[in-house]
Structures are given as structure tokens and as C-alpha cells.
């Protein structure tokens, strides 16, 4: 595969705080690459350095073989970016703003085509300020695509959106991938990273702590499944102690109990049996396969959205 983006030893400090610590990765043509991590992990700082919005303290960035730090003007034509919060002129219609951005480039995609791509054809004459959060996010995507970029950056494209709007955005992202675009996506939603990304870099406190395909990351942790249930009975933790200990990890969050284990069916059987014998009511039982969230928990000891 052809490497389209290469990051080497990228570092950014703010005073004593190391926001991005010596990270390296590369991205292949046509893949969706995800940077997954909690807020403040360094995702946005990383992509904004690649986009040229922030200056790294050290490191190298190569996009399509061009040194991004030495030739920032050349890079502007090659990339498209949706920032974490895009605001544009309030009283300008979507069509007008896409036309405007198109006028900045030597070659631009026809506005009509972009409107269709982000399903906003019917809204083309609406003012930006009248749009919903999801629609604004789609406008931001259209603007990022106006120059038909080789690499597209999407910084938390679905943060703050309702589930329906989120699925719409996901649909657009997969369409873009299918049309051959290379996409870098940052997110703190593990579901999003798992669903969309071919490879994911997990980032925490400025470091990439794991990088692989989502399935490989999950397999690598050795966790097969997680059993979750809730119980308001105060005896629960004592009564189930042996069962909890037989799993690979255990966690309690007020009345919610989370056990990870390779043998989910065995644990489940023992759990229901013990609950019956001691007359402890347990509710909302769920068994799920391990996710990137669990991988993150295992690697850092924290939850993604803490």
C-alpha cells in the first residue's frame, strides 16, 4: 500500500505540559485512521499540527511525500479539514459559503456535487445559523471537501450530535471511504472508532499507547467478554466475591458491576445460581464482547470519558 501521511517523533509542549510526546505513525492511501482518546489526550493538538494550524516543537510531517513543515502553502491544496468547532458567517446560505470556499482554490468540486454528498441539497438556500448541529457538521464536511483533498481530517465529527445525526455523519464518512478518500478521524467514542476505522491509534496523555486494527487491539488484550449487571442489594459484593475473582478483572460503579472474563457463560451460570440461593435481585444483565473502551481501560486504568 502507498503511504500518504508520515508522522515522525512529533512533539508539542505548552510550558511544562507535554501535550504531544514524540509520536510517530503513518497512514496508507484509502484508509480511515482513527485517533481515539479521552478529552485532552492530545488528539486535536496532533491533527492541528499536521494541518499546519499549530507549530510542533520537533518532529517531521510528510503528506504525499511533501515536507509539511517546510512547504505549508503546498499542503493547503492537498488537505481538507473539519475543525472541532467550525463556525462560519451566520447570515450566509450553505450554497454561498461553499461557493466562497471553492473560490479560494485553483480547482474546486462543483457546489452541487458537494451538497449531494452531504445530503444538504434541499437546505442549500438556508442560512448557516438556522441549521441543526448535525447539519452544521455536514456543512463543515462539505467545506473540507471543496478542494477534493488527498487527505481529509475530521476532528470529533459527531461530538454533541444525537444518535440519528451521528448515523448520518457515519454514512457520509463510509461513502467517502468507499470513494477512495484517506481519512483521519479523532474521536472519544470507541463505538465510532470501531465502526469506521481500519486502524486505530489509542492516545493518552500525549502518547500513542497502542496502534492496530480494532479487532487486533481487542484480541490483544486477552479479554473476550464483559458481563455487566446491576443490583441494589448491599450483600451483592460479598456474596459474589468468588465469582468476581474468577474473572480477569472486576469493577464496581455504585450499583453497577462489571466483570471481564474469557468464560462468560460459566460466570453467568454461577452468578444466577448464587443470586437465587441468596435471594439477591440482579437486573439489567448484559453480556458483550470486549470493545475498544475495555482496551483503553485495560491499558490506562481509566475510562475513556472520565
Amino acid at each position: 500500500m502507498e503511504t500518504i501521511l508520515e508522522i515522525k517523533d512529533l512533539t508539542k509542549r505548552y510550558g511544562d505540559l507535554v501535550a504531544v510526546n514524540n509520536i510517530s505513525f503513518s497512514i496508507e492511501k484509502g484508509e480511515i485512521f482513527g485517533l481515539l482518546g479521552p478529552n485532552g489526550a492530545g488528539k486535536t493538538t496532533t491533527v492541528e499540527m499536521i494541518e499546519g494550524l499549530r507549530k510542533p516543537d520537533s518532529g517531521r510531517i510528510k503528506i504525499c511525500g511533501i515536507d509539511a513543515l517546510a512547504q505549508p502553502a503546498k499542503i493547503k491544496g492537498l488537505i481538507g479539514a473539519q475543525l472541532q468547532s467550525t463556525t462560519i458567517y451566520d447570515q450566509v446560505s450553505i450554497r454561498e459559503v461553499i461557493d466562497l470556499f471553492g473560490s479560494y482554490y485553483d480547482n474546486s468540486v462543483p457546489t452541487q456535487e458537494l451538497l449531494e454528498l452531504v445530503s444538504l441539497t434541499e437546505k442549500k438556500d438556508a442560512y448557516y445559523r438556522t441549521l441543526s448541529g448535525g447539519q452544521k457538521q455536514r456543512v463543515a464536511m462539505a467545506l473540507a471537501l471543496v478542494n477534493d483533498p488527498a487527505v481529509l481530517f475530521l476532528d470529533e465529527p459527531t461530538t454533541g450530535l444525537d444518535p440519528q445525526a451521528r448515523r448520518n455523519v457515519w454514512g457520509i464518512i463510509t461513502d467517502l471511504r468507499d470513494s477512495g478518500k484517506t481519512i483521519i478521524l479523532t474521536t472519544h467514542y470507541m463505538e465510532e472508532a470501531e465502526k469506521l476505522c481500519k486502524r486505530v491509534g489509542i492516545i493518552d496523555q500525549g502518547n500513542i499507547i497502542a496502534l492496530d486494527r480494532p479487532a487486533a487491539l481487542i484480541a490483544g488484550t486477552g479479554l473476550d467478554s464483559t458481563i455487566e449487571f446491576s443490583s441494589d442489594d448491599i450483600r451483592a459484593e460479598d456474596v459474589f466475591k468468588d465469582i468476581f475473582d474468577s474473572g480477569t478483572s472486576f469493577e464496581r460503579d455504585s450499583n453497577r458491576y462489571i466483570i471481564s472474563s474469557k468464560d462468560s457463560s460459566g460466570i453467568l451460570k454461577k452468578l444466577t445460581q448464587a443470586a437465587d440461593e441468596n435471594n439477591i435481585e440482579i437486573e439489567n444483565i448484559s453480556v458483550r464482547k470486549a470493545t475498544l473502551e475495555d482496551v483503553f481501560l485495560k491499558l490506562t486504568g481509566k475510562k475513556l470519558r472520565e
Binding site: E51, G52, L53, A73, K76, G77, I79, A81, L83, S85, T86, T87, I88, Y89, Q91, V92, E96, D99, L100, F101, S103, Y104, Y105, D106, L143, N147
Partner: protein
């Protein structure tokens, strides 16, 4: 200069669509010229050898230029910067000089339109006789426009937050307005205020316009006023260059 034309058109569209811009830039000065015209139509200020309304027309033109240069341009720049619009634009190949250039041209066109309307009302409705040379008038108007737009950019550079933009610009605007000899001659003010007033760009632009269009004098006789405006431009640009921020 790719993107200049489209950026200029966008600014014009935004201007027309924003009711507060239309009000402050067009209706507000218009209201003053009509109001004062009706009140002072037949009053002659013997001490100054001119009709009161003749004194005021150039002053209201200065006020209109100040609304545009200080109020509108500074506050909208701070607002757009606060929203991150310039940050987003910096990802595109459009040059920042192109954006600023388009904004300045847009403001200048609005100033020309305002001035033509005010002059026309003064001449047609209130019989103000223009003795001077329109070319000189245009030179002073353009210098004044550059002067107040520079002051507006200097303010936008110093002001940090969107919330403080409007009140701070208001303060500067009103000081320039009331101490700038717009509605009454500075000579009736107490001595210490006259000293301040004589340093203000509004005083000088008003004096220069009056001398040229009402008294029919040439540019040579207003060189002090022109030099003072030039000094304000230099100082404002220096402040802008030192403190200017895009984000």
C-alpha cells in the same frame, strides 16, 4: 488575489442582511441630518459666518465614517475572530491580506454611499450650497476613511474578547463624536477640553471638510488637519501591527 472578488461580494451581502449594520451605517446618520435639518434649517451662527446646518453636514459625514470605521469594522472583526472564522480560513490557500483587503474595499464603498446620500439630502432638502471642489472633498473623505478604518483595526487588535468589543468601541466613538466638533464648534468648550478636542481625528476631518466644501478653500489651507489625520493613521497602523492577532 484569488478569492478577493468573492470575499468582497460576501461582505456586501452580509452588510445588507444584517439589520443592525444597515441601521447604524445608513439610517442613524440619515436620522441626524434630517432631524438637525428640520431644527436648524433657518438658524445662522453669526460668530462662525455660516448656517448651523452647513456646519453640521460635514460633521454628520464624519460621524457616518466613524460608525463604519470604528464601530462596524472593529466589532465585526472581533466577532468573526472570536467565532474562529479566520482560523478556518487559514486552512485554505486564501491569503489574509486578501480577506482584509476585501473588507476595507467593502467598508470604503459603504462610506462613499453614505456620504453621497448625506450630501444629496443636505443639498436638495436643506439648500446647503457647496462652494468647494468635489475632488478635494473626496481626498479628505478617503483620508478620513483610511484614518478611522485604521483606528478600527487598532481597536480590534487591542480588544481581547467579543463581549468587550461593543462597549469599548462605543466609548471611543462617543468621545470622538462629542469632543470632535460634530454638533457644535469646539471653541465654545472649556479650555482644557479644547486641548483634547484639537488632537482628535474627528475634529480635524470635520474642520477639513467644512473648510473645503462650505468655505471653498483649497487643500493647502487644511494641511494641519491632513497631517493630523496622517499621524493618527501611522499610530493606529503601528498599534495594529504590534497587537494584531488572527485567533
Amino acid at each position: 488575489m484569488r478569492g478577493f472578488g468573492s470575499q468582497f461580494l460576501l461582505q456586501m451581502k452580509l452588510f445588507i442582511r444584517q439589520k443592525d449594520e444597515l441601521f447604524w451605517n445608513l439610517a442613524f446618520p440619515l436620522f441626524f441630518i434630517v432631524l438637525y435639518g428640520l431644527i436648524y434649517r433657518d438658524i445662522i451662527w453669526d460668530d462662525f459666518g455660516m448656517r448651523a446646518i452647513e456646519y453640521m453636514l460635514p460633521g454628520i459625514i464624519v460621524m457616518a465614517v466613524m460608525v463604519n470605521g470604528i464601530m462596524s469594522s472593529a466589532t465585526s472583526f472581533v466577532e468573526e475572530r472570536g467565532k474562529g472564522i479566520y482560523r478556518r480560513l487559514s486552512l485554505t490557500p486564501v491569503k489574509r491580506q486578501t480577506i482584509i483587503g476585501a473588507q476595507i474595499l467593502h467598508r470604503y464603498i459603504i462610506i462613499l454611499i453614505q456620504t453621497i446620500i448625506l450630501l444629496a439630502i443636505g443639498i436638495l432638502a436643506f439648500d446647503i450650497s457647496i462652494k468647494g471642489n468635489y475632488f478635494y472633498f473626496w481626498i479628505i473623505l478617503t483620508l478620513g476613511a483610511v484614518c478611522f478604518l485604521s483606528i478600527g483595526f487598532a481597536l480590534a487588535s487591542i480588544i481581547r474578547s467579543v463581549r468587550s468589543a461593543t462597549p469599548l468601541c462605543m466609548i471611543v466613538f462617543f468621545v470622538f463624536l462629542f469632543l470632535g466638533g460634530i454638533f457644535f464648534p469646539n471653541s465654545i468648550m472649556p479650555r482644557f477640553l479644547v486641548v483634547i478636542a484639537n488632537g482628535l481625528p474627528s475634529t480635524h476631518m470635520g474642520d477639513a471638510l467644512r473648510a473645503v466644501i462650505i468655505d471653498g478653500l483649497g487643500l493647502g489651507s487644511v494641511w494641519i488637519a491632513l497631517a493630523a489625520m496622517g499621524a493618527w493613521i501611522v499610530i493606529s497602523l503601528a498599534v495594529s501591527i504590534i497587537f494584531f492577532r488572527w485567533e
